[in-house]
């Protein structure tokens, strides 16, 4: 029989498929969905104020030549409470932070700011998640590094922890 090697094909296939199965079991499953908008310009939007006393947010407010952070948060979101002190630290380091409040009520946003402090320059209200979709954002909280020309440079998914503060400051410095 000339084609003796053919006998090994089924075993090789089995080993390949078995290997795939083991790979799927061993390698942890990452369900984070990153925005494909990183590297693109911010989408055009103009959101009304999320609460009294803080202005709303439009695309043109974020293209004034200065790099900044854009924080996606909500008063009902627990990790957003956890990241509040770290946003305050970023603000204390001279960072301008704009925000979008997702599906929130003005009185809830006001209560959130009273309780956890207000690191934000502007807060736009995204009631219908339209801007969240346009940004390619998949949840709260998320933080974007925005270049001075309004380009999305970096996306941080999840709450900002202590160890992320210097990394974000570095990204902002690099954006200058």
């Amino acid at each position: 029989m000339k084609r003796r090697w053919m006998l090994w094909v089924p075993l090789a296939l089995f080993a390949f498929i078995g290997g795939l199965a083991i790979y799927g079991l061993v390698v942890p499953h990452d369900t984070t969905i990153r925005s494909a908008m990183v590297g693109s310009k911010l989408p055009q939007f103009a959101l009304p104020a999320a609460t009294d006393g803080v202005d709303g947010l439009a695309t043109k407010d974020m293209a004034d030549g200065k790099p900044r952070l854009l924080n996606i948060f909500a008063s009902w979101c627990i990790p957003c409470r956890a990241e509040a002190p770290h946003l305050a630290a970023l603000k204390a380091a001279g960072t301008e932070i704009d925000a979008i409040a997702i599906r929130d009520k003005p009185e809830d946003v006001a209560a959130f700011l009273t309780e956890f402090g207000n690191p934000y320059r502007r807060i736009g209200a995204d009631q219908q998640l339209q801007v969240q979709l346009a940004l390619g954002s998949s949840g709260v909280p998320e933080t974007y590094v925005i270049g001075g020309d309004g380009t999305i440079l970096y996306q941080h998914v999840g709450d900002i922890r202590e160890e992320h503060v210097s990394m974000l400051l570095e990204k902002l410095r690099a954006a200058k």
Binding site: I33, M37, I102, Q127, Q128, L129, Q132, L135, G136, G139
Partner: protein, 136 residues
């Protein structure tokens, strides 16, 4: 009898748990378009887009606020006359190829589309060899 009344009152006294993210759903998230043909196009597309929040479900099946927002986006764009393909591309430009349940006809996706035909061809070739041997 008393126990039954008490049990029933328990049921009546409960209020449905308030959703964490309450508030009205965006327009057209849960209403059909008045034009039947447009609604059919929107429904077909919604069944092929993945919900970003629940990930395993299509936006047509999911009750998540994110899926409602995506349905609203799809219906509003269809109502404005945008084609389903261009809406799908808009979603892919934001969330990556992953958001579509239909793999693209290029790269690894092309292999997925062609795999059934390739396997059939391979099987035919294999069977042909077997039949030849029998005959001789």
């Amino acid at each position: 009898m008393k126990i039954v009344t008490i049990l029933i009152s328990f049921v009546l006294l409960t209020t449905p748990l308030q959703a964490q993210q309450d508030g009205p759903a965006p327009p057209l998230a849960n209403e059909q378009l008045s034009d039947g043909r447009q609604e059919a196009a929107a429904a077909a597309l919604m069944a092929k887009l993945r919900c970003i929040q629940c990930q395993g479900q299509s936006i047509a099946d999911s009750d998540a606020p994110m899926a409602a927002a995506m349905r609203a986006e799809v219906r509003q764009r269809i109502a404005k006359g945008e084609s389903p393909d261009s809406i799908r591309d808009w979603m892919i430009a934001r969330y990556g190829q992953w958001v579509s349940f239909e793999p693209a006809m290029r790269g690894g996706g092309l292999f997925l589309w062609l795999a059934p035909a390739l396997l059939l061809l391979a099987a035919a070739w294999f069977a042909r060899g077997l039949f030849k041997r029998r005959r001789s």
